[in-house]
Symmetry: C2
Subunit: 188 residues, 2 copies
Amino acid sequence: MSTYHHGNLRTAVLKAASKILEKKGISGLSLRETARDAGVSHNAPYRHFPDRESLLAGIAAEGFSMLGEALKSSSGKAMGAAYVRFALVHPERFRLMFGGSLAVGKYPALREAADRAYQALVDSFRPHADAQQAQVAAAAAWSLVHGLSHLILDGHFAPAQRDAAGTENFVRQVLGGVRYLLGAQRSA
Amino acid sequence: MSTYHHGNLRTAVLKAASKILEKKGISGLSLRETARDAGVSHNAPYRHFPDRESLLAGIAAEGFSMLGEALKSSSGKAMGAAYVRFALVHPERFRLMFGGSLAVGKYPALREAADRAYQALVDSFRPHADAQQAQVAAAAAWSLVHGLSHLILDGHFAPAQRDAAGTENFVRQVLGGVRYLLGAQRSA
DNA sequence: ACCTGAACACCGTTCAAGT
DNA sequence: ACCTGAACACCGTTCAAGT
């Protein structure tokens, strides 16, 4: 039996790389191990990805699609909770997508995938506000759930979220706690 | 003249590493280059840091102190703006502190430094709310400015922030835009 | 569009043996 | 608490020469 890879190597490489990413994180993801796991020679991946960063960009692009799917069917606070849930279920992928290891500007496909996911958020504010307000509201909402995701992942709210139920509860509280910010702002 | 390092090598290593971090990012920061820039042999840093990750943790700890300083003398919306400004002035350090490359739990000094910076935020809500509300409000506020920092750094709000003035303005708008979230939440 | 196999420069980490 | 110097396993990337 030959080791020649027939079929979609690109997909096979992405799959192997995703698996390694989940287990070892971004810095633990190497092209050579990916190739080994995919059962191909160490430079076969170069047929589909010019360098390691491009492979990372490919995984990130997949992630933005997944995120878009996860957000599609909800709105309001439920959408925020879905965003955080996505981050917690796919922590390493989330960090790859948003950890700054990737120069988003260098990969048009990545930029577009990210913009599509964001657009879903902006649209969800359209019914409640004019275009200008929707933009600002969406930016604030995205910032809120995005920051919350990062901080939970990094363990900065440890006491409040010792288990999964605690986390869900905490997320709900924080998303609802926005109203406390207004009073503080007014009196500051 | 000897190459023997007299004085505080730990400080010298941190300084050299910070410089490399700023220029090449986290993945571009190597122990060996740090040692070269500090003018010592490639394994001298091991006297002060057991491995590369510990060096990163040291730089991050510095960062949390810097962040604490930057936030100390402000409150309310100004404090949020100061947080974002810190992220924009020290992008790579910010990403190191919050990018998940570091297991915060593994470094007590890091955890304490981070907690101290957070406590400043919680305290700033104390005058306006009871302890429970202050906790939730601080978590929401931190999430908001933290997410905003990340998203701006990653270039996800590019059209709104083409220059420094545009960015300052945008940050102010988003921090103020929190009120739009309430209407949307209520009607969602 | 894949393969093997060699090569290069670089890395983190660990020694042994010094001062 | 630092030094030199060697060593190991690993890496990304680039070849050359195949099928």
